[in-house]
């Protein structure tokens, strides 16, 4: 592994080692670029991961202080935990389920397709599906996504069997074990899935793609990567020219260091990325870095979500095998006749007993609650995930008083559901329940959103400087050597799980940066 000097201003500094940052680091290293990858979390491994929901939660989750406000139910149920994402080398890709879907063509231009919608800050992406297709193909190959590149699908587990039986009876046509970045065959030096069912807990077998097991080791093999775990970036510095010059970070002992940089790429996930830009305000950039549009921290999206669990006379044992074992895509189109714009996916999801207790009906107690828990082994479950409306008033902002362990203002996550989100959730609950009813369910349990796992849009890309924070390559409009490299770039959310797109954008960004560097533009 490389070791660069703090004063070395030839390195590219990447903040965050998750889907965006970890991928970008590898792509740049493969091109010979010198990279310092700063990651706030510790370096775990397949060996240190545990098959235990709460222990794992304590091991990899981002648990630094955060607050929430607004009328969303998460704000009430999980006020101090608005998002369920990671602080560990590999970021939330250690946690993710692996569902890897391309955004649909029309979802890149929703302002054009959906028209003006009250309260929604819609905008077309500055790129099209066609622009992204070659990168999607590269990402799918890199991640070993099933049902692409000739890779067979995964076998469905019991939870999927229930979904499939119901979907088929209901007349849905698109239900299968989906496109998943989990090895159905040994591939790329990693084993195939042994159906542990602890995909959210780091996947001890290594079958699941993550930047921890795939991108970062490859980047290290180039000799170009200087990975520094437990390095929490507090501020991005700039010079008189306005260009960024480096970052200040706190190490494991809390000691602060300044790492110089040729360019800085921010990939801290959509809460930390704008927090860092806002916290880096200076005399020259009073509203925070790259914020001449005022859009840093705005338009926070988290996908329309909800879950349906159902109980049956016969056992299901839904926890056995892949957490996201299959998908129904029939509702992912845009059909305003349903009473909302945009679409949603239905994906199997299983929780272990400990998490089921925590999430089934947060705050509930008494006989009604325990009667549901008694059905645990006879339950099937699905997660509903759809496009939510970007709203300027949904924001990440710096808390006026609260500070974290490094003295940095904590982020406040403000969110209100848009009426379109609510209409879509109601429809999705109805259809999810119908799927299970068709499979013979005794009872359906409609479960409110979990803390946000898909955090998007807070530094969105836009064609015009005034509408967003960065361009189609994630380069900020205001500062040419400052890049946004994670899901914060999303102009709108689309119905699909976001990670494949984050990875594709990172590959594309690496090409762009390498070109800019060779042209000495940055």
């Amino acid at each position: 592994m490389a070791k660069y000097d703090l004063k070395d201003d030839g390195v590219v500094v990447i903040i965050g080692s998750g889907a965006g940052g970890g991928t970008l680091a590898n792509e740049l290293c493969q091109k010979g670029v010198q990279v310092v990858l700063l990651e706030a979390g510790k370096h775990e491994s397949n060996d240190s991961f545990v098959n235990d929901e709460w222990s794992s939660f304590g091991q990899i989750t981002w648990l630094d202080s955060r607050s929430s406000s607004g009328s969303w139910r998460v704000g009430k149920d999980f006020n101090g935990l608005p998002a369920w994402i990671c602080k560990t080398v590999g970021g939330s890709t250690t946690h993710w389920a692996g569902a890897s879907l391309r955004i649909q063509d029309h979802e890149f231009r929703v302002k054009t397709e959906y028209g003006d919608i009250d309260g929604a800050n819609l905008l077309d992406w500055p790129l099209t599906l066609k622009d992204l297709e070659p990168y999607y193909a590269k990402a799918e190959d890199k991640m070993g996504v099933t049902r692409t590149h000739g890779i067979p699908g995964l076998p469905g587990n019991n939870n999927f069997k229930v979904m499939h039986a119901g979907a088929t009876k209901l007349g849905y046509k698109n239900c299968n074990t989906g496109r998943i970045a989990i090895n159905s065959r040994p591939r790329d030096g990693r084993a195939s899935c042994i159906q542990l069912g602890f995909c959210f807990q780091g996947c001890k077998s290594g079958a699941k793609w993550s930047t921890l097991v795939a991108e970062i080791p490859k980047a290290e093999a180039t000799g170009k990567l200087d990975l520094r775990p437990q390095s929490h970036v507090l501020k991005i510095e700039h010079g008189k020219s306005g260009k960024v010059t480096g970052v200040v970070y706190a190490d494991a002992e809390g000691h602060q260091h300044m790492q110089k940089a040729r360019a800085v790429c921010v990939a801290g996930n959509s809460i930390e990325t704008p927090r860092l830009l806002l916290n880096s305000a200076s005399n020259q950039y009073k509203e925070g870095l790259a914020n001449s549009s005022g859009q840093v921290g705005k338009n926070y999206m988290r996908h329309m979500t909800g879950s349906v669990y159902a109980s049956f006379d016969e056992p299901v044992h839904m926890w056995r095998g892949t957490t996201m074992a299959g998908i129904i895509s029939d509702e992912s189109n845009n059909d305003p006749k349903r009473g909302f714009v945009g679409g949603y996916e239905m994906e199997t999801l299983a929780l272990g007993l400990p998490f089921m207790a925590a999430f089934l009906d947060p705050g509930a107690w008494g006989k009604d609650f325990t009667a549901k828990m008694d059905e645990y082994s006879h339950m099937a479950g699905m997660w509903l995930v759809g496009e939510d409306m970007p709203q300027e008033s949904n924001t990440i902002s710096l808390h006026a008083n609260n500070k974290d362990q490094h003295g940095m203002p904590t982020p406040d996550v403000h969110f209100d559901d848009h009426p379109n989100d609510i209409a879509m959730r109601e429809h999705a609950f109805k259809q999810g329940s119908a799927v299970y009813a068709a499979a013979g369910a005794k009872e359906n349990y409609l479960v409110p959103p979990y803390p946000s796992t898909h955090n998007l849009g807070t530094c969105r890309m836009s064609a015009k400087d005034a509408d967003g924070v960065c361009n189609a390559h994630g380069q900020t409009h205001d500062i040419s050597n400052l890049f946004i490299s994670d899901g914060s770039q999303f102009t709108t959310g689309a119905a699909e799980n976001p990670t494949l797109t984050i990875v594709s954008l990172a590959i594309r960004q690496a090409d762009f940066m390498a070109k800019q560097m060779s042209e000495k533009a940055i």
Binding site: V50, N51, D52, E53, W54, P152, G153, L154, P155, G156, N157, N158, F160, K161, V162, H164, A165, T168, C175, N176, T177, S184, R185, S192, C193, I194, Q195, L196, G197, F198, K204, S205, E314, P315, V316, H317, W319, R320, G321, G326, G352, L353, P354, M356, A357, A358, W365, G366, K367, F369, T370, M373, D374, Y376, S377, A439, G440
Partner: protein
């Protein structure tokens, strides 16, 4: 039924395990689930009557008729640890039990089940109630005894996953076709 200090002669002291006894040994799940004579909870901060009241309060908040007291005792254990670490928590719990007793005219534990419920229901949402509920929603369901009771199988890694142990053994619905759900990979 609510004696936290049951026959001590069978206890095996296991470090790190507050519920001590044959319960904590790994002699098979079912024997572990019939522990009523062979476990005890050692409290460090709260006294026994408080512990017993908290156990019964938890039974009202999360009633599972056939779930053994030993599992509920995990919640009391965690409340005791919290009380030992923070005097404010100790006071909250002690005062809360006093309120329960007052509501039942002196001895809440001695009241019948319905009466107990009426008293505790009135406290729903208050800080004392939420402390128990918030602790119990984790502790009650986060131990191997509870997992055995509810049928959850816990750690799959040590058994090599479910690939050959029933991940797709459901027989009461038709199997999906192979294009929707291809066969599993096998090396043979």
């Amino acid at each position: 039924m609510l004696d936290l200090d049951l026959t001590r002669r069978n206890f095996l002291k296991t470090s790190g395990t507050v519920l001590i006894g044959t319960l904590a040994s790994s002699s098979g799940v079912l024997s572990m689930l019939a522990p009523s004579q062979t476990w005890a909870l050692e409290l460090t901060k709260l006294d026994k009557p408080i512990g017993q009241s908290l156990l019964q309060a938890t039974r009202h908040i999360f009633p599972h008729a056939t779930l053994d007291d030993a599992v509920y005792a995990f919640v009391v254990k965690d409340l005791d640890v919290a009380a030992a670490g923070d005097d404010a928590v100790a006071k909250l719990l002690t005062d809360g039990v006093a309120t329960l007793n007052a509501g039942a005219g002196g001895d809440w534990l001695a009241a019948d089940n319905d009466k107990q419920f009426v008293v505790i229901e009135k406290m729903a949402g208050n800080e004392f109630f939420e402390k128990i509920r918030g602790t119990a929603v984790v502790s009650l369901y986060n131990n191997e005894l509870a997992w055995a009771h509810f049928g959850y199988e816990g750690d799959a890694w040590k058994h090599g996953g479910y690939l050959t142990r029933g991940f797709n053994d459901l027989k009461w619905l038709p199997d999906p076709p192979a294009d929707a759900s291809p066969p599993a990979f096998s090396t043979s």
